[in-house]
């Protein structure tokens, strides 16, 4: 039975979920893999990791195998990215390419094996974060889309949308504004509060522009954690029910 039926025809960048967006990895044929990718996108401080933790518990209780993958978490690239961020040697192009390498490492080592084994992959950020950050830094939009042609179109993409005012307060409450979250590398000024707002506003513009192109399901990030979680569970539950593939067995069941 088909596990690739698009929920929103024409969305997902015009690509069937579970397939490569563009020139994929010719040496890895993923066409019949039963797993699903659910990506949670949104800027810093929007509460993605909390939502993912709660989703994982809920899915596992129902017997699904769940794998999480998160931005810059690949063992290969994490030390290099940290080094590059701290040593000020990163230009916008190497920044973009290091992220792509991190993504590729996680895609091949974590995501694809999980899809093959029928797991649900919860992705804390996906390629859209990379595209948004590159867009703000003036990287050619076609080039970055072709670069991420090896990425697999997720089955669902949730975008937790938060306006700059709410975002600024949340980030200040939870540790403050960081150099990178404020786009200080763009060298547009010295005031971190102003830079944070300007940078995050530009990022939001990039995310909004991608919403239709990649079929984002947009959720209002100002809502309470519980209300958001309920909405996520409702939509994911519907998707999994409608999916023709048999219910997956988690490990140990």
């Amino acid at each position: 039975m088909s596990d690739t039926r698009p929920l929103d025809p024409g969305a997902h960048g015009g690509v069937t979920p579970g397939h490569y967006y563009g020139h994929g990895l010719p040496y890895l044929n993923i066409d019949q893999y039963p797993g699903k990718i659910i990506a949670i996108e949104g800027t810093d401080g929007v509460g993605r990791s909390t939502q993912i933790r709660l989703l994982r518990e809920w899915l596992e209780v129902q017997g699904y195998g769940v794998v999480e993958t998160g931005w810059t978490r690949s063992p290969l690239m994490q030390p290099t990215i940290e080094l590059a961020k701290s040593s000020n040697t990163l230009n916008k192009l190497t920044f973009v390419l290091l992220y792509a390498c991190d993504f590729a490492d996680r895609l091949e080592k974590e995501v694809i094996p999980a899809l093959k084994a029928g797991f649900i992959v919860l992705a804390d950020r996906y390629i859209y974060t990379a595209i948004a950050r590159a867009g703000v830094r003036g990287i050619d939009s076609q080039w970055i889309r072709r670069l991420y042609g090896f990425a697999i179109a997720p089955h669902l993409v949730f975008y937790l949308k938060l306006d700059v005012d709410a975002l600024a307060r949340r980030v200040l409450e939870t540790g403050g504004m960081s150099y990178w979250e404020s786009g200080m590398d763009l060298k547009a000024g010295d005031d971190i509060y102003d830079m944070f707002r300007t940078y995050q506003r530009q990022l939001l513009k990039e995310y909004n522009a991608m919403a239709d192109e990649f079929g984002f399901r947009v959720l209002e990030g100002r809502r309470s954690i519980n209300a958001l979680q309920e909405e996520l569970r409702r939509q994911i539950g519907e998707f999994l029910e409608a999916s023709d593939s048999p219910k997956m067995l988690g490990p140990g069941l």
């Binding site: 020139h23 290969l76 230009n91 192009l93 390498c101 590729a104 895609l107 080039w143 072709r146």
Partner: protein, 180 residues
């Protein structure tokens, strides 16, 4: 004049070393790491001397990636698109040798072939020399596509160094004369 070498940027060395030591690189991460290295050198080592009107001698260029990555099974068009940020060289010279000659020369210099150099990551053969032959024949096939596509000048590298240098100098002087 400025000389730049493949795979030499400080930024990427750490990750490449980790990856190579653990044999942890896939064809895709191998490709992206080298592109990152190239981008780093392009911005810091290649473009500034070009702006200053200098001649940059590049020991390998994006074509190495086109050949090697495609030989590892990465999509040809994807690699070309990836490197579209690279400056097109004014003159690109390809020193062509047969697999036997390149093997003889490599083995004469050191004890054994490096893991990735021999394409051992692909699992085609457990014997480094055999693996090198398989990998290198794919790489040479790729170069045969690249030469006409990107207008590379070919030098027969099976001859003596003196002979190759003579041809190389002629190619370079012809190019420089045509410019002035």
């Amino acid at each position: 004049m400025f000389v730049t070498e493949w795979n030499s940027s400080a930024l990427v060395k750490a990750a490449t070393r980790t990856g190579k030591k653990k044999n942890a690189l896939t064809p895709m991460t191998f490709s992206l790491l080298h592109a990152t290295d190239f981008a780093d050198r392009l911005m810091y080592s290649i473009i500034p001397p070009l702006k200053a009107g200098m001649i940059v001698l590049a020991d390998r260029y994006a074509y190495t990636a086109f050949a090697r990555d495609a030989a590892r099974g990465v999509d040809r068009q994807w690699v070309r698109d990836l490197y579209s940020f690279a400056v097109k060289p004014d003159l690109a010279v390809y020193f062509r040798v047969t697999i036997d000659v390149s093997l003889d020369r490599l083995l004469a210099r050191r004890v054994k072939l490096k893991f990735y150099e021999a394409g051992m990551d692909m699992g085609w053969s457990n014997n480094p020399v055999e693996s090198f032959r398989i990998f290198q024949s794919k790489v040479l096939d790729e170069y045969d596509k690249i030469v006409p596509e990107h207008d590379l000048r070919v030098v027969d590298a099976s001859g003596s160094i003196t002979e190759q240098q003579r041809i190389f100098r002629r190619l370079v002087s012809e190019y420089l004369e045509a410019q002035s």
